[in-house]
Each structure stands twice: as C-alpha cells, then as structure tokens.
C-alpha cells in the first residue's frame, strides 16, 4: 500500500490542472462560482474543448476514442474537474448509452452513434422511469409494438433530466406483456425529433425544470434502433445500473463545496462579533463533514483499485451512492444554516442565463437555499437510497 502519487501521476495532475486553468473559459468559471447554470451551448462548447484535447471520454476504451487512463488518473481528472467546477460530460450519452452500445450494440450502431457522442454533436437523455413505476423500474408500461420494419411506441417517461435539450433518448420499452415483468422489456433508441414525441417540463422544489415528462404517441421507431435482442433490455439496463457509475460519490463536487463553505464561513459574521468559522459548534460540524469526505474518498479509491485488478464494483457502488448523496445533502444543510435569512429568498430566475438584477445574497451564498431544496433529489433519483440499501442487504449481507 502506498498513498503517494507516482512522479508520472503527479506530472499528469499538473498537466490537467494547467489545462483546466487555461482552457476552462473564465466566463464559465465565474458563472459556476456564482451558481448560475451554464446553457446547453456553453456545455457543448466546453465538451468540444475536451474533445480536442482527447479527454472527452475518460472512461471509454482507447479504440472508441477514450483515454485508456488508469483508475488513479481517472480519479485525478475527475477531482481536478470538480475542484474548478468544470462540468463533466453529460452522463446520458457518455456514461450511459455509450457503454451499452459498446457492449450490446451492433457494429453499425456503434459507428452511427459513438462518434457523435464523443464529439458532443448529439445530446442524449434517458427514458427509464415512468409516472407509475418509481423505484419499481421493471413495472414500466411504455409499449413498443412491432409493425413491419418499425416499432410503434406509446406511453410516457418521466424524470428526464435535460430532456428539453435532447436529440435522442434511450428507452426501456415493453415488447412482451405476456411474460414476467423483467422479461418483456427491450432497449430502444428513439430520435426525439420523431413525430409523436413531446415533452412537458416538471417544476421541482427549487423552481427550476431540469427534468421533464416525455410522451410517446404512436411514435414510429425503425427496428434497427433496437439494441441487442428483443426482450433482453432489462439485462442490458441492469448491467448499466451497476457498472459505469463513476463519480457517483460526488467526491470532487463535495470537495469543492466544502472548501467554498469554509471560505464563506470565514467571511461571514456570526452576529455576535466573530466569524461563523470561529463559531465552535458550526466549525465542529464542518470538520465532521470534511472527515466524512475523506472516508468516502478512500472508499471510492479502494473501489476503483479493486476494479483495476479486475473485480466488479457491484454493491460497493451502492455504498458510494448512499454516502456520497447524503454527504452532499449535509453540505447543503450547512450552507442553508450559514446563510441564515439569506437562505430564504426564492428567486430561481437569478440563476438563469441573462438575469440582470443583482443577487440578494452576499458572496458565497448565492443560490444555496435553492441548492438545499433541489438536492433532495440526490437521495431519490438514480436508484433511491432505499433501493441501494436493499441491494446491499441482498447482494452483500445475504438477507
């Protein structure tokens, strides 16, 4: 065992850091620091910069344009990206549909879709959850009926993050209603511009609508858009759910936010004549979160290390998901408390592109009240933390 980076990895970290300092646009960085959302164009622009550098897909194999990095380097890259606040590649294309294409897609499908994902020419979204399925994903009802060379799709999907931006959606659809619920599901790629596809934004706790409902009304999808075999979609989706959940622990993000929290606490009055960082109870809790982050970071590193020697991550990713999201939420709580009355204003629009007014909150607090609200999603979406605990019970404890 050895905690030190090799000289080569240290040099790599410096290279990444320099690159980000120089190439992540200062304008974007300012927005991220101020809590303002980047537009689709800005995110795509940034991904193309990464693509030019050859870093668009850290986790892809080299033959598809990935980096071939070691787990340590992937960790370094994700951490440096997180620390500067640079957005990761949008996960739906890069981390979700791409691995499925690589594992189960035809050669033709790979050639058709992967390059556009790598170059961020096409924006994907995910069509798994449905209004009545919730954590019981396999109970989905959206149907795809074969009609000649096409499937005719009817139904609704929900919790589609960034569905409003997407060009394509990968969907789980029911192709056989006569068998066990897991056995009649297929994995289908659908062009969002097809006739019959529509979407409705869902306004969440923080007043924003980053998620959508997607409706399919007699949508005709070419049969060539089916991944692998009909009725095998659940298998593909499940593999995806336990694999490729890199950065599920949110370590880089939480690292950045804890540093920002400490900075903000040092600059804010405690109302009694000192700073909030000098307030002993607040500072004690802050330290507890910093310690939790260290435990989480090493849990993640240990998982990555075991991956690199060929083991499967399996239920370890459930631990990372639970602890990572709950830590992120506790950081939000500390920001909420730190803000005091500054956490109360509900002004979603001040974090949109183009907002002209001055923000209400002093430095470091902009949008933190809303972040607390919005991040309640972390323990619900992506496989609720209850489901993750069930996985641990079954897969690890044998209960």
């Amino acid at each position: 065992m050895n905690a030190d980076f090799s000289p080569e990895d240290t040099a790599f970290r410096d290279e990444v850091r320099d690159f980000l300092q120089n190439e992540f646009p200062a304008e974007y960085r300012g927005k991220v620091d101020a809590g303002i959302r980047l537009s689709k164009d800005e995110i795509v622009h940034w991904q193309k910069i990464l693509y030019e550098k050859g870093w668009a897909a850290p986790n892809w194999p080299v033959e598809h344009g990935g980096t071939g990095w070691s787990p340590t380097r992937k960790h370094i890259f994700a951490m440096e990206m997180g620390l500067i606040g640079a957005p990761e590649p949008v996960a739906f294309g890069m981390k979700m549909v791409a691995p499925v294409l690589m594992a189960y897609g035809s050669e033709e499908q790979r050639q058709r879709f992967l390059p556009d994902i790598l170059q961020s020419n096409v924006w994907w979204c995910q069509g798994y959850s449905e209004p009545n399925s919730g954590s019981d994903l396999a109970s989905l009802k959206t149907s795809a009926v074969r009609d000649g060379d096409h499937y005719v799709v009817n139904g609704a999907k929900t919790w589609n993050t960034y569905g409003q931006y997407a060009d394509w959606i990968f969907c789980l659809v029911r192709t056989d209603t006569t068998v066990k619920k897991q056995e009649g599901i297929s994995f289908l790629l659908i062009d969002m511009h097809s006739p019959g596809v529509s979407h409705k934004p869902i306004v969440l706790l923080d007043g924003h609508s980053e998620v959508n409902e997607i409706f399919f009304d007699e949508v005709r999808v070419p049969a060539e858009n089916l991944i692998g075999e009909e009725n095998k979609g659940w298998t593909y989706a499940k593999v995806l759910l336990t694999h490729e959940r890199t950065n599920i622990a949110l370590v880089p993000r939480s690292t950045r936010r804890l540093r920002a929290l400490r900075r903000a606490a040092a600059s804010l009055d405690d109302g009694q004549g000192g700073s909030m960082l000098e307030e002993p109870v607040f500072s004690h809790r802050l330290a507890e979160l910093e310690i939790e982050l260290k435990a989480l970071e090493y849990a993640e590193l240990r998982t990555l290390a075991s991956l690199s020697v060929g083991k499967s991550p399996g239920p370890e990713s459930s631990i990372l998901k639970i602890v990572g999201t709950e830590l992120a939420q506790r950081i939000d709580e500390m920001f909420l408390e730190l803000g005091a009355y500054h956490s109360l204003p509900y002004l979603p629009e001040q974090f949109d592109e183009g907002f002209q007014g001055a923000t209400l909150e002093p430095g470091g607090l902009a949008g933190q009240g809303l972040a607390y609200l919005n991040d309640r999603k972390l323990s619900i979406f992506g496989g609720s933390n209850e489901i993750q605990r069930n996985i641990i019970c079954k897969a690890v404890l044998g209960l």
Partner: protein, 381 residues
C-alpha cells in the same frame, strides 16, 4: 396545571379550522401566491370581521386578550394550510411591537386601523451581518434639526412590499451588538429614501430588502424611549417565535398525514409502499417528532402565558424553537424522501409544505442559535 382548551379557544380553533378547510385549499392558495400582492385582500377583511386580527392584543388595547395559547391555536391551522396572509409579520410581530412600545397617541392612531384590516405593517429588524441577533444593528439613527435621519439597509423584511408603515430598528448609540442604544422608528414605506426590493421567500410569502438612504423622520415617529427598544423587542420576538413554532407544528402534522396517506395508495413492486417496514418505522419516527414538537410548543405557549420570570419564559421559547428546528429537518426531509420524485414537484402540496417549514426552521433563529440562547438563559437563572 391544565392542558385543556377553554371554550373560547375551542371556538377559535374551529372557526380558523373551518376557514382553511373550506376556503383555503391548495389551488386557491396557489392562485393567491401568484397574485400581485401575494395575499388576498378579501381574506384579510374577513379575518378582521371575524376578530382574528385582535387576538394578539391586550384587552386594554382593544384586543382579544393577547394569550400565547390563543395564538398557538390559530397558527397551527394557518401552518397546515400554508396561509399567505401577513398575519405573523403585520399583526403578531409589528402590531405587538407597536402595542408594546408605542405611546397612547401612536397606539390610538394605528392599532384600531390594524385590527380592522385597514393598515399593513412590517418590522425591519434583520441586517446582512446580524444573523439572528436582534441587538446586532448597524442601520444608524442620528438626530438632525429635530428630525431623525436613518441610514442603512435591512434584509428579510416580511410583508415589506405590502406594508403601509415599517417599524425599523436603528442604532442610536453603543456598539454594533449592544442592547443599549437600540431605537425603533415608524417609517412610511413610501417615504423618500426608502428603496424596497420586493421578492418572495421560500414559503411564497412576500418579503423585501429595504435600503434607507438618509431617510428623515420626525421625533414623533420614535417608538419607545431613545435607545431603549431592545427589551420590548426581545419579548415580542419571543411571542412571535412561539407562534412560528405553532405554525410549524401544523405544517409538520400535514406533512406526516400526507406521507402516511400517500404510502397507503402508492404501489411499488406490487404492494403499497406503506407496507415496507423500513418506511413504517421512519413514519413512526416522524410521528414521534410531531408529538414532541407539539408538546414543547404547548410548553412554550403555556409558559409565555404564565407568571414565570421572563428568563424562564424566554428559555422555554428557545427550547421550543430549537427542538422544532430538528423536527422540521427530519419530518420535512422524510416526507419528501418517502414520496420520492413526486414529492420534489411543484404540483404536489408536499413540496410547498417542505419549503414552508424550511423557512420556518430559520425564521427568528435556527436550532443552533436557540440551543445556545437556551443555555445562556438557563445558566443565568
């Protein structure tokens, strides 16, 4: 000791409860929230007619009796319905401050108008660096030719956008955090130099950030003695804090009830999610939190109405607000979590209740602030 409601309290409870059940459903509330002023003028008139606006005032001021328990009974119902009308900031807070500090002339001029629904008030106490310390005031008041000139800025002025008059705390002398030297002034919301930036808070109630740029008011606008506003301020805030606890108790009960109901109808994996024991035990814990929250709020209200020394009463209020802070955190988060995604959406009342209680968690001081205040008050005793 007596834990039963008086007949009048029972009637008040039924009257308020009936109003919110029959005339304040979720859709109605959403319409009111989206309106220009963010509250219903019609409802306000009704409250006046029903005598509700007199509840927090003493009989000699023309009020119903100024009992914290009466107020608790009302606020609990308001919390369940997420009432938007500015009862708390205009009547309980600013109104009682006026009653506590004003002289006979000031009270005669304003209190009847307030109680008949013809006057809206707001209290401007918090500043950017004050956190929850009422004494932490930088906004300055200096005398100039018989007038007083106010300079500085206030944040989170509840009901600020709709108030006719503002009650403003100002530093007349002493250190920034000194209790001595704190003055209170009545300022017209439209007076020259008063700059109001209006917005909505998490609970959809309207608030404002207000700058006072060399605002001149006559000496007659002063409430109470020069530099002597602190004590009354703290006591009025104790009452308002207990009222906030009661409001939260109502909202938490609603969150629990809606969560339990949802768990009995929502199916996952072929069964109602309410049949999962892990969720059941968490709902049992939510219930426990609600019961403890209610019990300690009852304690605070009963203590406020008792003959105990003020220090004991204030400690009881801080104990309640501290405990409520923890209950809110737990019950609110669990309600959203157990609902799952749907609990995150604007469509369902659960997300609005969650925002309301999150606001109440911070209002007048969070759990840590009141735990510290409780310790200070108790150790001084």
């Amino acid at each position: 000791m007596d834990f039963s409601y008086s007949e009048e309290q029972q009637m008040l409870k039924e009257s308020v409860g009936k109003f919110v059940r029959q005339q304040y459903d979720f859709d109605t509330r959403n319409r009111i929230a989206a309106s220009e002023t963010g509250y219903s003028e019609e409802n306000w008139k009704l409250f006046a007619e029903l005598g509700w606006l007199t509840v927090p005032f003493a009989e000699e001021d023309g009020g119903f009796g100024d009992s914290a328990v009466d107020l608790m009974v009302m606020m609990e119902e308001f919390g369940k319905a997420m009432l938007l009308e500015p009862f708390l900031p205009s009547v309980v807070l600013a109104g009682r401050l006026l009653a506590a500090l004003g002289d006979a002339r000031q009270k005669e001029e304003l209190l009847p108008a307030l109680m008949t629904g013809n006057l809206q008030l707001a209290c401007a106490w918090a500043e950017s660096g004050s956190r929850y310390n009422l004494a932490n005031v930088r906004l300055s008041a200096r005398g100039e030719g018989g007038n007083v000139i106010l300079s500085g800025a206030k944040v989170n002025v509840l009901n600020g956008p709709n108030a006719d008059k503002l009650l403003v705390t100002a530093r007349e002398s002493g250190a920034v955090t000194g209790r001595e030297g704190l003055g209170m002034f009545l300022v017209d919301r439209d007076a020259p130099g008063v700059d109001v930036r209006a917005y909505a808070n998490m609970d959809a109630c309207r608030a404002a950030r207000i700058s006072f740029n060399e605002v001149s008011v006559p000496e007659s606008a002063r409430l109470g003695k020069p530099g002597g506003a602190y004590e009354a301020l703290e006591r009025v805030f104790d009452h308002a804090t207990a009222a906030v606890c009661a409001q939260a108790v109502g909202a938490l009960d609603a969150l629990l009830q809606k969560t339990v109901e949802y768990s009995k109808t929502r199916k996952q994996f072929g069964v109602h999610i309410g049949s999962f024991q892990a969720l059941q035990h968490r709902m049992a814990d939510m219930f426990i939190e609600c019961q403890l929250a209610r019990s300690i709020t009852v304690m605070a209200a009963m203590q406020l109405d008792s003959e105990a020394p003020w220090q004991t009463r204030s400690a009881a209020v801080s104990a309640a607000k501290s405990r409520l802070g923890r209950a809110i955190r737990k019950v609110g988060q669990e309600a959203v979590q157990i609902h799952g995604g749907i609990g995150m959406t604007d469509e369902l009342d659960v997300s609005h209740l969650f925002r309301q209680v999150t606001g109440l968690e911070l209002l007048f001081g969070d759990a840590d602030y009141h735990t510290a205040r409780f310790t200070r008050l108790q150790n001084a005793g």
